[in-house]
């Protein structure tokens, strides 16, 4: 694939000496709702290096989308500063728009137009000449495996095809940064893996990718660096590997036989165990955090045996990003967002 210069005017050069292609300081946003003032983003400072896949992880309502919408000029910045591709977002949104691509959760392709028509219009809105844009559309459809459907109306596309077209629409003008808002929501695992492949491919050709997700697997598998957000604040930042290393030890998951009193007896006894640092329960499933699973496990089993609690299954797991979130916030990422909606203006 060649994403070479195809004649798009990206405006003037501003110099990117800092190395960060996205940089925010104390970014804030609040909304006035019926219930009063809601602070959706409360002082977010990020530096994203050129050429990385940067993931913004967090439960629904954490403020990920709001942050993304400020960076993409869709929402006025509430407070603090943001620079994208060397341009101040608040002062010169029009210059930012020329340099970025954005794929929203909704996509937004025209159903009644063909994939090709969508791409050509999009390229032309970015100022590309018809002949240039036509060639570019051809190339993008090839790269994203859409050539076969190029002249079909988008209405007939499958979920995966549609998402790939959305991505193509986001990069038709060869942006320096591509913003993806929950890119794999609604995709089956196969299409998700396929999309990740395309995203990595884009990165390998120099595009910086900034994505939001609430899928741990996505953040883990795809992102070079992630930031976990909760209640409008940054909880933690680093490579997925670094973050998981911060959570010391392993976790042991014990599924108890569902007998009255078993849970109480087990938690009381295990609570006295020196190996157990922390314990959470979900029904009759107990999750115990221990320093070294292989050492602790025999002792834990003996303890349960002593209080006559039978177990159905035992498993040992290394830390996940969910554990990172749990360790920092005391809640599980999988449950944290349930029943809440992302705040939008």
């Amino acid at each position: 694939m060649t994403l070479g210069d195809q004649g798009f005017d990206t405006g003037f050069d501003t110099g990117f000496d800092t190395g960060a292609i996205i940089s925010t300081r104390d970014l804030r946003k609040s909304f006035t709702t019926k219930g009063g003032e809601v602070e959706a983003v409360r002082g977010v400072s990020i530096d994203v290096a050129r050429g990385e896949i940067f993931g913004f992880l967090g439960p629904n309502g954490a403020g990920k989308t709001t942050t993304l919408r400020m960076l993409t000029t869709l929402l006025p910045i509430g407070g603090g500063t943001a620079t994208v591709a060397g341009v101040d977002v608040a002062r010169r949104p029009q210059e930012v728009r020329k340099r970025i691509g954005y794929v929203s959760q909704l996509g937004g392709a025209d159903d009644l137009a063909t994939g090709r028509e969508n791409l050509i219009l999009q390229g032309r809105l970015y100022g590309g000449e018809r002949s240039t844009v036509t060639r570019r559309a051809e190339l993008l459809m090839e790269i994203l495996d859409l050539t076969e459907f190029a002249d079909r109306r988008v209405r007939t596309y499958s979920g995966g095809q549609r998402r790939r077209l959305d991505v193509a629409l986001g990069i038709v003008h060869e942006p320096e940064v591509l913003f993806l808002d929950e890119p794999s929501t609604g995709l089956d695992p196969q299409n998700r893996a396929n999309l990740w492949e395309h995203v990595r491919n884009l990165r390998s050709h120099g595009t910086t990718i900034f994505l939001t997700t609430h899928y741990l697997e996505e953040a883990d598998a795809l992102c070079d660096r992630i930031m976990i957000m909760d209640h409008g604040r940054i909880v933690v930042e680093g490579t997925p590997r670094e973050l998981k290393q911060q959570v010391e030890g392993d976790s042991v998951i014990l599924s108890l036989h569902e007998v009255d009193g078993a849970l109480e007896r087990a938690t009381t006894a295990l609570g006295l165990e020196p190996h157990v640092r922390k314990m959470t329960s979900d029904g009759f499933d107990l999750r115990l955090y221990v320093e070294d699973g292989s050492v602790a496990l025999p002792a834990l089993l003996r303890t349960l045996d002593a209080v006559e609690v039978a177990i159905r299954s035992v498993s040992l797991s290394e830390p996940t990003l969910d554990d990172v979130f749990l360790a920092r916030t005391g809640r599980s990422l999988r449950d944290a967002g349930a029943g809440r909606q992302e705040v939008r203006a």
């Binding site: 869709l74 959760q105 392709a109 025209d110 809105l125 970015y126 100022g127």
Partner: protein, 253 residues
């Protein structure tokens, strides 16, 4: 110029979308035809009633239909805005460097063009019912219809962007439309009504269009009704377009 190019591109896009939607085309054509076919016969015996303007029924009624079409096609614009808001199309355009005014006016101009085609069809049918065509008068009328339709379309689009969901948008637009329609003398001349209605009507932009349309359709260009319509509609249209562009730039989230 970049702005003009953006307008042309978004005009083309919207027109293509409409042409590919056969249901919409069918409704667009059938509405005015139904008015003509099902309402004109009812008016036949009314033309001798006191207060009814001079001229044949079709000559009084057709300009009203054209005004009504302009009003309706303009104020329904917001429904497609809501749809495009919810399907992410508007957000996609707002992230591009395309001119905000172009994003607003492209679809409006496309809607106007299609309205003119429907109007031409209605006039052609009305000729079959005995309508006499005053060519210059109709051209000037086309201008006034375009002004009102643009005014309403910009208002409707901005309202849609601010309300964001179909039910509150529909409630607001219907709430506004009904009094405007009733106080405009579209279907029956307002001159048939009591004094308070005639006074109230003077605060209604559609009323001026309907008055001017009757004058223009009968071929009288230099009447008070015609210049009053321009004097009301031109500044109102400019004001609403300015406001709607501002909404596009800022209030959309």
């Amino acid at each position: 110029m970049k702005g003009l190019r953006d307008i042309a591109l978004l005009f083309q896009r919207y027109t293509l979308q409409m042409l590919r939607n056969p249901v919409w085309l069918f409704v667009g054509f059938s509405t005015p035809v139904l008015y003509l076919a099902l309402f004109t016969p009812l008016l036949k015996n009314l033309s001798h009633a006191p207060g009814f303007p001079s001229g044949s029924v079709i000559e009084v009624f057709l300009p009203g239909i054209l005004s009504l079409l302009a009003f309706a096609s303009g104020s329904s614009m917001g429904f497609s805005t809501i749809f495009e808001l919810q399907s992410g199309v508007i957000e996609r355009f707002r992230v591009t460097p395309a001119s905000r005014f172009a994003i607003l006016i492209g679809p409006i101009l496309s809607g106007l063009t299609m309205m003119m085609v429907f109007d031409a069809v209605v006039v052609a049918i009305a000729v079959g019912f005995g309508f006499r065509v005053h060519f210059v008068g109709l051209l000037v009328l086309a201008l006034l219809l375009a002004l009102l339709a643009t005014l309403m379309a910009a208002f409707s689009t901005a309202t849609a962007l601010l309300t964001k969901d179909i039910s509150s948008f529909a409630a607001i637009i219907n709430g506004i439309n009904l009094p405007i329609l009733l106080l405009a003398g579209v279907l029956l001349p307002i001159s048939l009504g009591p004094l308070w209605m005639r006074v109230l009507a003077h605060f209604n932009p559609l009323y001026y269009l309907v008055q001017a349309s009757r004058s223009l359709a009968s071929g009288s260009l230099a009447t008070a009704a015609v210049w009053q319509a321009f004097a009301v509609l031109v500044p109102m249209c400019a004001l609403v377009l300015w406001w709607a562009t501002r909404v596009f730039r800022k209030a959309v989230a």
